[in-house]
Amino acid sequence: MSIDVPQTLEAFMAQALAMEHEAMQRYAELADVMETHNNREVAELFRKMSAIENRHAAQIMAEMGWKEPPPASAPAWEGFEAAETIAPDDVHYLMRPWHALQLALRAEERAERFFGRLAQAATVDSVRKAALELQQEEREHVELVRAWLAKVPQPEPDWAVDPDPPRYDE
């Protein structure tokens, strides 16, 4: 998969920050969606994920000494959106926390692959070094999510069954 490698550490970190922000925002939006649809458990889980991504973002800001996020966008990876952002059409109104964590797990795995590929393709030392560090962090996130997954119950086979048909009144 082709990749556009940033040429400076600043540019690279700005991109990484944008990825965290986008992921944080997406989890927050999905938390709202789930809450509106009365799936409180998953809503809370998404809010936690959003908070976690927010912490990662804050970490990057602190490390780089930034007060405001510099302008940057999160590049598309293995799809239309950035590596760590979960796709909005992957949710289901009856999904269980287990499903949500599966989505988070795949997001972290994608992110790990992304930074690994970036590290390979980097031509600037500081960028490579930073990419490898972030890749390592993503590996840790993967483990964390796996551990979390082990604690939540597996969904029942009929988790998606709703005795009521869809309705739309207009």
Binding site: F80, V91, Y93, M95, P166, Y168, E170
Partner: protein, 279 residues
């Protein structure tokens, strides 16, 4: 702008969202399209109170209230008419029209034709999910002929409506297709459509997770259009005849002048009209 010449802060997409939570099913493509619209409007840079979003009836027609812009949620199929009236009365506003394939191509079909032909400056965004989500899963004009449903068991057996073909033939000045699964790409297309003068039409493939769950496959079927955008309607017409329904990008960006009625400036006083009646 204040006296000391400081530019107001640039607008962010969040500035265009209202506090109202959408009722769309989780997984609905319209969430992404809403996000794309707010991103596009932030790129355009006009404040929300100078933008009006007009809609009809259907899931995607709910969009105006989910934004902080002025909104008009009218009756089924008549959004383009209301938007035309609004834009002609208020040419200063940026006018967007949102709706679905049923609202736009079925009951709205006649107004769609004439809106393309009339070429008033506005942007029409149709979220096409090939179904009437509204009344629980009936075929729409863009539904595949063999899709089974209660009202058309075994499928409609009727050729689908081709919105891009119709828009181009009827005279729309900008014709494009986007995919809700690519929110940034869709935002860029919508911004381009808004900036383009005249009637801009963006058909957004936006899967319906509840009534057409198989549309989750669309993300594997869409692809960037193999051809560049053109301002030549004949070339565009040839290209659209081989459209597989999943080409993403701008088909046509034309040069027709937008419809702009003559208005006398400065306007005459009403009393001047009386002379016509005097004996």
């Amino acid at each position: 702008m204040n006296d000391i010449g400081i530019q107001p802060a640039a607008l962010a997409p969040a500035d265009f969202k209202s506090a109202i939570k959408p009722i769309w099913c989780p997984g609905c493509g319209d969430y992404s399209v809403l996000s794309s619209i707010t991103k596009a409007l932030a790129m355009i840079g006009r404040p929300p109170h100078e933008v009006a979003i007009v809609s009809g009836i259907g899931c995607s027609s709910r969009i105006p209230a989910y934004t902080s812009c002025y909104g008009f949620h009218g009756v089924h199929g008549r959004a383009l008419a209301a938007a035309t009236g609004l834009k002609l009365a208020r040419p200063d506003l940026t006018v967007l029209v949102t709706g679905g394939d049923g609202d736009g191509y079925s009951i709205g079909g006649n107004h769609f034709l004439h809106a393309c032909r009339r070429n008033v400056d506005m942007t029409y965004i149709v979220m096409d999910n090939h179904v009437y989500g509204m009344t629980k899963g009936q075929p729409s004009p863009t539904t595949e002929p063999d899709w089974d449903s209660k009202l058309a068991p075994g499928g409609t057996k009727i050729r689908v409506f081709h919105p891009l073909v119709v828009a181009l033939a009827a005279g729309a000045n900008f014709v494009a297709r986007a995919f809700s699964g690519d929110p940034n790409g869709t935002a860029a297309l919508i911004a381009q459509a808004i900036r383009h003068p005249g009637f801009s039409f963006v058909e957004v493939l936006s899967p319906c997770v509840t009534f057409r769950p198989e549309q989750r496959d669309w993300k594997t079927q869409v692809h960037a259009s193999p051809v560049e955008e053109t301002d030549d309607p004949v070339r565009a017409a040839r290209r659209v005849m081989t459209d597989d329904g999943f080409n993403i990008g701008v088909l046509y960006a034309g040069n027709r002048a937008p419809y702009s009625p003559e208005r006398r400036t400065p306007p005459a006083a009403v009393a001047e009209l009386e002379a016509e009646f005097r004996v």
